[in-house]
Symmetry: C2
Subunit: 433 residues, 2 copies
């Protein structure tokens, strides 16, 4: 037989695929999902806090009573019922009719990830530059890399993205910057929030340079201390695509997110989405619509806030009590993540196998940079494990770090992990969103 | 304010977006969904034939008893439970372990559409050539166009794709052909099926030229007269990506499809899918898994076969009784569609507004060609409307055609509709899959 063999496709892949390889990190994360491992690596909401019996009853009726619609094809943009509810959700954050938000300009997506992918399809040619916080969301890096774009990271501090760093990056990109990708509130992975004052400055800079803003806001409602600063989109109506998702406030297993876009862009987003997935799931949309129509979803967000605040406190306390000297970390006012900086000389990626052996997992900082930096950092999640497990995880992690530091004191610094090109090689997989 | 306005993004879109415009056809189809219109345009299964109460009970339990998994993130490839069930479904068509099919090489997708999109991402660079039947699936044309590939159509007859046409197209492409995209069984839109003998010849030609085969098989199990010829993938294990979906045999509203791919390709498909959607819906996957585990799905396929056979017969009878002389059509042995060829001089696209005014809808043939041809054809669906509505629809359609022919007899042939470049401009939208 002259047919092709299973390893014989290399010369036929598209250019964007070359360099797409599985990483050793992925294999490690497969182990990290075992129950004996305390995973501080994930980005999963605590689904057990949902009223599952009531959700089940709702899902059952959605199929039995509304099945001829909910199990059928729908339109590419998403149902008008859900888009109206989404506008109610956005109004909580100040994105309302007074800012030009309308159900007609909402596109329902397969979670926040497809939203990002559609943005990339619409705006990115190979070689284009994307400006993004450093570190930034690993899934966004995967999208930008697949689009063959170049990511330029900009520094943050405790007040979020530094406006001067944005100015400098725009100047350096010399007109090739297609957009700013930013997670202003409870940033993933850094856990910091852009202040009100900086929001205005960032917006002014983007307007002045006519730079499109992609505002990714999955966590904005999950505030632990009062309300978060209003989203960028609540402050300006033009030049911003606003992305969010129900994955953190309801259920990621339904894969329902959305984009609020300027009208001309919205039309093209719908066409791009149809070419990608034909239409979002009518059943998943019906489930979210019913949830938002018949269940106490505002109260549920409060419940999540309380659960996550307690877990954040458990994580911060454990870090303060147990981490070796020289370790620092952010103090998120909401969201799911803490970003830790290791003592000089420790490499979070090189340390991963030993951490897994000690039954604790995290995401090495390298996953959140397109340029291979971040080896001195790690992302720690506090939304999924209960407080006692969080403390136990930090205890194990501190033990591993102490051992590393002891080895280093004896044998000198470990060889720094070589810098890698494509960030997606470090992508930890979807259970770590 | 110096910010951008809503119509001011033209200079910032990616190259692939230029020329992406909404068409007048889309606006017409919005009207076609009104209840007074008999739509022969759709591609929707007859969901009312499902045991919706039992499905609802199953969905309810999936959320209430298994919610902490079914509402959570999952892995990018899809659950092992569903992939095992998918292998059972494929085994019905002869794609089984003896042909190398394994759950490990299955990737769960967001319906058949994402499966096509992932294939395009992996294999198509701008300027690449795709060989496809003419006419072919409108959603595939949308994907290939978005990938900036060129589609070369090859002729079919009542026995499906003509092998000599494939040979000629390969020669003409001169090495630029990336793959053959084919729907061998109950083709959409043509309704024809590739014979056993031609399947072997087509496979031999592709092997000889080392041409990858994308076999799209959404309808293969929906046979009205015995079993359909075995899929291409059941005949060869190498060089074929096999795509299918639960949209036609269970429920399109869940958006669950799959790809069976050679192992090296499968790994890259998973990474591409993660960049696109992170992971397929755990809830939708759970629903399909439960459906295939606990409900009589084989019997349900038989039910669909019987319902659709009766409706196909109703459509064929109505066409024979009512169509003007000079109209011809295919006689599908399964699936959802009949392809009609109009009497000389009629233009299916130009006729659409008058058909909608007469309360009947179809898809003009131009939607199924990348090169603007197909104006003399239309696709007629028989899976969704009941037999009496089908006959009424054909009666209305015949009336419109008779009027057109009378006008033509008086005023001469209408100006042929100008040929259009991008086929996606004619894409009728997702409810017409």
């Amino acid at each position: 037989m002259t047919g092709t063999t299973q390893d014989d496709y290399t010369d036929r892949y598209a250019r964007r695929v070359r360099g797409m390889t599985t990483s050793e990190i992925r294999a490690l994360f497969a182990v990290a999902s075992r129950p004996e491992v305390v995973s501080l690596a994930g980005g999963s909401p605590y689904i057990a806090a949902l009223p599952l019996d009531a959700v089940g009853e709702m899902m059952g009726r959605l199929a039995s009573e509304l099945g001829t619609t909910s199990l059928q094809y729908g339109i590419g943009q998403g149902t008008i019922e859900l888009r109206e509810r989404i506008c109610e959700v956005m109004a909580l954050s100040g994105i309302d009719a007074s800012t030009g938000a309308s159900p007609d300009d909402v596109v329902v997506t397969v979670g926040g990830q497809q939203a990002l992918d559609l943005v990339a399809r619409l705006f990115l040619d190979p070689g284009d530059v994307v400006l993004a916080e450093g570190p930034t969301y690993v899934g966004a890096l995967g999208v930008f890399q697949a689009a063959q774009a170049q990511v330029r990271h900009m520094a943050m501090d405790a007040d979020g993205l530094i406006p001067e760093a944005l100015e400098a990056a725009i100047a350096e990109a010399g007109g090739r910057a297609k957009f700013l990708y930013t997670i202003p509130t409870f940033q993933n992975p850094a856990g910091v929030t852009l202040t009100d004052e900086r929001r205005e400055r960032i917006l002014d800079i983007c307007e002045r340079h006519r730079l499109l803003v992609i505002e990714d806001d999955p966590y904005g409602t999950l505030s632990f201390e009062g309300e978060a600063p209003r989203p960028l989109r609540a402050r300006r109506r033009d030049g911003i695509l606003y992305l969010s998702t129900f994955s953190k406030t309801f259920a990621p297993g339904l894969r329902v997110g959305w984009i609020l876009a300027p009208h001309a862009v919205r039309e093209k987003l719908v066409m791009a989405s149809e070419a990608n997935i034909l239409c979002p799931s009518a059943f998943a949309q019906g489930a979210v619509t019913q949830y938002l129509s018949t269940m106490p979803w505002r109260q549920q967000i409060k419940t999540y806030r309380e659960v996550y605040r307690e877990r954040r406190d458990a994580l911060l306390d454990a870090l303060a009590d147990l981490m070796p000297a020289g370790t620092t970390w952010t103090r998120p006012g909401g969201g799911l993540f803490v970003w830790a900086t290791l003592p000089e000389g420790l490499d979070s990626k090189a340390m991963m196998p030993r951490a897994i052996a000690a039954r604790v997992a995290y995401v090495p900082g390298t996953g959140f940079y397109a340029d291979g930096t971040g080896g001195g950092n790690m992302r720690l999640n506090f939304s999924f494990p209960p407080p006692s497990r969080i403390r136990e995880g930090v205890r194990r992690l501190a033990g591993v770090m102490e051992q590393e530091l002891a080895m280093r004191a004896v044998f000198g610094p470990t060889t720094p992990h070589r810098r890698r090109g494509p960030a997606a090689a470090d992508a930890p997989g979807p259970d770590l969103a």
